[in-house]
């Protein structure tokens, strides 16, 4: 039975080789398929992303309140969140850390989790059931919970961010817009707010935050040095007493045998230190009740030496590589970061055109010039997008490197440029299978199936795999010509038909070995690339490779004669 089939295939290939019209037809069809599949990328029929989301048994929440918030306020927010979370069947525990970061993890390492300090920050570590005990994937759960939590618990101006464990290397955020320039911090911040507004208009961007302090009041206590000198009160003493009264001071420690630490003695005023309200008067009133003693032993109220002045707390100034910067960050919600970012970039160009002259800087970055004041701003995109672009460029170079290496190898082996070129073109055609494979997979999966970095790795691997198919055919054809004296066309047809079976076997082996990979969240792209790529490569080996090597083998035949 198999012998009969072989003959059929052999006849078909032989007839292709004999007719130049049929050859042209095969070339044309190949080109159309190639162009059609590549066209799927710019039309977003197949979408690209660095790495897809990863299902894990834990996720985190970062809660940030305005700088002047208290522990009690942030506690209220985290309690609200925890109560809602506990209503979920799949959520087991919620560990809340107020005033500091959670136990550091892969994601927190670059998000500054370890540096967190202060009453206005909190992190929550949420444990959910292990994957075999739940149906919903963690990223789908976050997608569902995010609006519920943010709508109900964003009290006191809280910014609540959902942090997932990354499937690849961690980044500050999916989308980071670094805002440079501006004549002052305030201008820069105002501009950053505008960028944030553009992000907010994007339906797939969430957890948007401008990483800059909000303006807040500060009271400056001005000491009257002359009066202090006259009345003989030490300045240092006064400062220390003020600190001890309101903040408290650990005056000394006691070593104890049955304690785990030195026991401190902490002194401060009792609840009478608490101010009535946030006003200048309240501070002045409190200062009147506190007294200091001078050199002569006379007790004088502190208010005598201190005048209270209102001013603004100076905001934290951030810079990157010596340039002042304000970061605007956002996460993507079930979407690749590439598309919303490109959309917001277009939107920025459109929205800001009235007030600014917008020019393209290097890469995707934008430069803005205020039409009236001439103030300059620059927006640089960083975060996962930059990692994605860098990775895709690196992988692209790796891919070209692989092509060049294989070309040289083939030239060394066959000592003929034409054969090496044919092998390379045939291998490259497997990109059709890769793209179509992703398209088909996307049709069948609930979540978007992205073309990822792992797909690219699969594609690079395919080049090698496919050149083996060609090698097996060419080697055998040459052997048939030399040993059995067949003519070039016949030798190619027989060789292709004979090697069709082992090639199909190896193709099927790869397809089956990769089918389990295809279901994996992260490595799915690689699996699908291998399956689609090798299947298409099989067709290429049968119908394209024989035509592509025909001329070269005919030359060998002629040289022999």
């Amino acid at each position: 039975m198999s012998a009969h089939k072989t003959n059929l295939l052999e006849k078909l290939i032989h007839s292709l080789l004999e007719s130049s019209f049929k050859k042209m037809l095969v070339y044309l069809i190949t080109f159309l398929i190639f162009a059609g599949s590549v066209y799927m990328i710019p039309t977003e029929l197949v979408k690209a992303k660095m790495l897809p989301g990863k299902d894990s048994n834990t996720f985190s929440l970062y809660v940030d309140l305005p700088k002047d918030s208290s522990v009690a306020q942030i506690k209220e927010v985290t309690t609200c969140i925890s109560k809602l979370l506990m209503k979920e069947q799949d959520i087991l525990t919620s560990s809340v850390f107020l005033g500091e970061g959670q136990p550091l993890d892969f994601a927190g390492m670059v998000k500054g989790s370890a540096m967190k300090n202060g009453e206005n920050v909190a992190e929550m570590m949420i444990n959910i059931k292990t994957s075999e005990h739940r149906v919903e994937r963690s990223y789908n759960m976050i997608h569902r919970l995010r609006p519920i939590i943010q709508d109900n618990c964003s009290l006191y101006g809280a910014n609540i961010k959902f942090i997932e464990l990354p499937s690849g290397p961690p980044v500050l955020a999916s989308v980071v817009a670094e805002v440079y320039g501006g004549n002052s911090f305030e201008n820069r911040k105002a501009f950053a707010e505008k960028i944030a507004d553009v992000f907010k208009a994007q339906p797939t961007l969430v957890d948007i935050d401008v990483l800059a302090d909000k303006k807040r009041n500060k009271y400056r206590l001005v000491l009257d040095n002359n009066r202090l000198l006259e009345s003989g009160v030490g300045i240092e003493q006064l400062k220390k007493m003020m600190y001890m009264a309101f903040e408290g001071h650990q005056i000394g420690t006691i070593n104890s045998d049955n304690a785990e630490n030195q026991i401190g003695i902490f002194v401060r005023l009792d609840d009478t230190r608490i101010l009535n309200d946030d006003s200048k008067k309240a501070i002045e009133a409190k200062l009147k009740t506190l007294k200091v003693v001078n050199e002569m032993g006379i007790k004088i109220p502190m208010s005598r030496f201190i005048s209270v002045k209102q001013s603004a707390q100076s905001p934290s100034l951030t810079s990157k590589n010596l340039q002042s910067v304000i970061n605007v960050i956002a996460e993507t919600d079930m979407e690749s970061q590439i598309y919303p970012l490109l959309d917001s970039r277009t939107q920025m160009k459109k929205d800001f055109a009235d007030q600014y002259e917008v020019t393209n800087a290097d890469m995707l970055n934008l430069a803005f010039k205020d039409k009236t004041t001439g103030e300059l701003f620059e927006v640089k995109f960083d975060g996962e997008l930059k990692v994605t672009i860098d990775t895709f460029i690196d992988l692209g170079i790796a891919f070209i490197g692989a092509l060049v290496l294989i070309y040289f190898l083939m030239v060394i082996y066959y000592k003929r440029f034409a054969i090496a070129g044919a092998i390379l073109v045939a291998s490259f055609l497997s990109i059709v299978g890769v793209i179509v494979g992703h398209y088909v997979m996307d049709l069948y999966t609930a979540d978007t199936f992205y073309l990822t970095a792992t797909s690219l790795i699969g594609f690079i691997g395919l080049i090698g795999i496919n050149s083996r198919n060609s090698l097996l055919i060419i080697d055998f054809a040459v052997q048939l010509m030399n040993e059995k004296g067949l003519d070039a066309n016949r030798a190619i047809a027989v060789a292709t038909a004979t090697r069709a079976k082992p090639i199909l076997l190896t193709v099927l082996a790869i397809v089956f070995a990769s089918s389990l990979l295809a279901s994996d969240a992260v490595f799915g792209g690689l699996g699908v690339a291998l399956i689609g790529g090798t299947l298409f490569a099989y067709l290429v080996s049968l119908f394209f490779v024989p035509l592509a090597i025909q001329n070269a083998l005919k030359k060998i035949e002629l040289e022999k004669e």
């Binding site: 005033g99 136990p103 401190g264 401060r268 905001p315 080049i463 090698l471 082992p502 076997l505």
Partner: protein, 518 residues
């Protein structure tokens, strides 16, 4: 055909086909692979070499823009002198400047740390007056990222938070003794402290100032080392000043001053309690489900545990949790409960086991495919070579210091489709030759060697081609390059091993188990 005419494939095939040790070698490789899988460190993600650090300089009283001018900007400039620094981030706040340094991924950590210390120390003299000593914290993924975290809590508030801290801190020392445990730290711990809350109106009534209170407390808690006195006979007598404060009552009864001829004790002007560190605003809670999805809030102390570099997370965590199990009853009697909130060992093990399971299923699927295509015995021969290839690959990986993680297994899964190919092609060719007319007069042994030899060259070249496609991946930079690093390491190894195994064992097994059909 003479042996001299054989290529590597033919030589290996003819060399091992009758060798008595071939079978033994096969068993040895399989055992080696199994042992490697058991002892090789397991991780979820491959180790990424990241170096970096933070320099914190406090300048009390300075405003943010002052701090930027005199601390962060000059510091940033100096740090830029270091080779290998990718980014410098700085934050200037009121009274403090923070400079974060990020090296290019892949820089040697200890070298990078040293350079950072060096540059900061060298420029100490340029720091402004009043600036406090810079604090340099270098990043260390292995120590900083804990592999396990456990939330401890007091059951029904039966013991105080400080009591809980005392017990858990002790427990921490015990866990630190476990092999390969690097650092044990506590989050949300409440430390014991005497809290003196001074009543301002009473202070006023007794005509005492805060300063006086502070002075008398300071004096009492001032501690001296032991005094070595000498006697006339030259002996040494040791005596020390007792702090005389042990309990709350001792603190309460500290004499502050006298008013109207009557002594004023601390208890007269302040409330003294022995409690926890109230000035510490850090708190931690754990919410769990009571019944009917009702949230139950408990204050907790989280213990975080990290492992030494290169240690097997799975084994370290197993030991930690086994130890916890052994003290569970004791903790129970002390009214302490615990919940494990992170177990990277489980995660790593789970990920690795799942992928190993995928590997096994894939091998089975390929075996079934081959049964239909080549026949039962041939399929079995190919299927036996697969675990051998994987075993040897893992062992080589282990020898060059690789760990088993998601990416490693992903590399193995990727190579799986490729590495059976060599065996399939060899056996298919043997199969084809056996049914060929010209093979009538030859023995099975000769056919096996010749068929292997015939296919040797194109298979070698093709395998080299695939290996070559992975070589440029070595040079992918950044975190992603580090992350993918097991791919260009394991795929080439697996493919090379697959060739050797295909050439040695396929002809051997064919010769042993197949019969020539006429």
């Amino acid at each position: 055909m003479k042996k001299d005419n054989f290529n590597i494939a033919g030589k290996l095939a003819s060399g091992f086909i009758d060798h008595p040790l071939t079978a033994l070698l096969g068993v040895f490789i399989l055992v080696l692979g199994y042992l490697t899988l058991e002892i090789i460190p397991r991780e979820e993600n491959p180790q990424i070499k990241v170096a970096g650090g933070v320099v914190i300089v406090a300048l009390p009283g300075a405003s943010a823009s002052e701090v930027q001018k005199v601390i962060t900007d000059p510091l940033e400039k100096k740090i830029r002198e270091i080779k290998g620094v990718e980014n410098i981030f700085s934050t200037a706040r009121d009274s403090v400047g923070i400079v974060q340094v990020q090296y290019y991924v892949g820089q040697d950590k200890s070298n990078a740390d040293l350079k950072l210390y060096d540059i900061v120390m060298k420029n100490m003299d340029q720091l402004p007056k009043n600036a406090m000593n810079p604090i340099i914290k270098t990043m260390d993924i292995d120590i900083d990222v804990p592999v396990a975290s456990i939330a401890f809590y007091a059951k029904d508030d039966a013991i105080s938070q400080t009591e809980l801290y005392k017990k858990i801190n002790r427990l921490g020392y015990e866990i630190n003794r476990i092999n390969d445990v690097a650092q044990v730290a506590l989050k949300g711990a409440r430390k014991e402290q005497f809290n003196v809350s001074i009543n301002a109106s009473k202070l006023k009534a007794k005509k005492i100032t805060l300063g006086q209170v502070a002075m008398s407390l300071k004096g009492l808690t001032f501690q001296l080392p032991n005094i070595q006195g000498e006697t006339t006979s030259g002996d040494v007598v040791i005596f020390g000043v007792d702090s005389a404060i042990d309990s709350v009552n001792d603190v309460k009864n500290i004499l502050i001053s006298s008013f109207d001829g009557r002594a004023v004790y601390l208890k007269d002007i302040a409330e003294v309690t022995k409690g926890d560190d109230i000035q510490n605003k850090k708190r931690s809670f754990i919410y769990s489900k009571e019944n009917n999805l009702e949230a139950k809030e408990t204050q907790q102390v989280t213990m975080t545990i990290s492992k030494l570099k290169g240690a097997n997370t799975v084994i370290v965590n197993e030991k930690i949790f086994a130890y916890l199990d052994s003290v569970k009853n004791k903790l129970e009697t002390e009214n302490i409960g615990y919940i494990i909130t992170r177990d990277d060992g489980y995660t790593a093990n789970h990920a690795v086991n799942e992928l190993v399971y995928h590997l096994v299923v894939s091998i089975a699927i390929i075996a079934i495919l081959l049964v239909f295509a080549l026949g039962f015995k041939e399929a079995m021969i190919v299927s036996i070579t697969v675990p051998m290839i994987l075993s040897l690959t893992l062992f080589i990986g282990f020898m060059i210091g690789e760990t088993v993680n998601r990416i490693t297994l992903f590399a193995l899964l990727l190579s799986l489709g490729l590495l059976v190919d060599a065996a399939i092609i060899v056996i298919e060719n043997i199969h084809r030759h056996m049914h060929d007319h010209s093979a009538k007069d030859k023995t099975l042994r000769e056919i096996a060697i010749e068929a292997t030899n015939e296919i040797g060259n194109p298979t070698n070249v093709a395998t080299i081609a695939i290996i070559m496609t992975f070589v440029p991946m070595f040079f992918v930079g950044g975190m992603m390059g580090q992350f993918m690093h097991p791919l260009p390491v394991f795929v080439p190894i697996a493919l090379l091993v697959s060739l050797v195994i295909a050439y040695i064992f396929t002809p051997y097994l064919v010769n042993k188990f197949l019969k020539k059909v006429n």
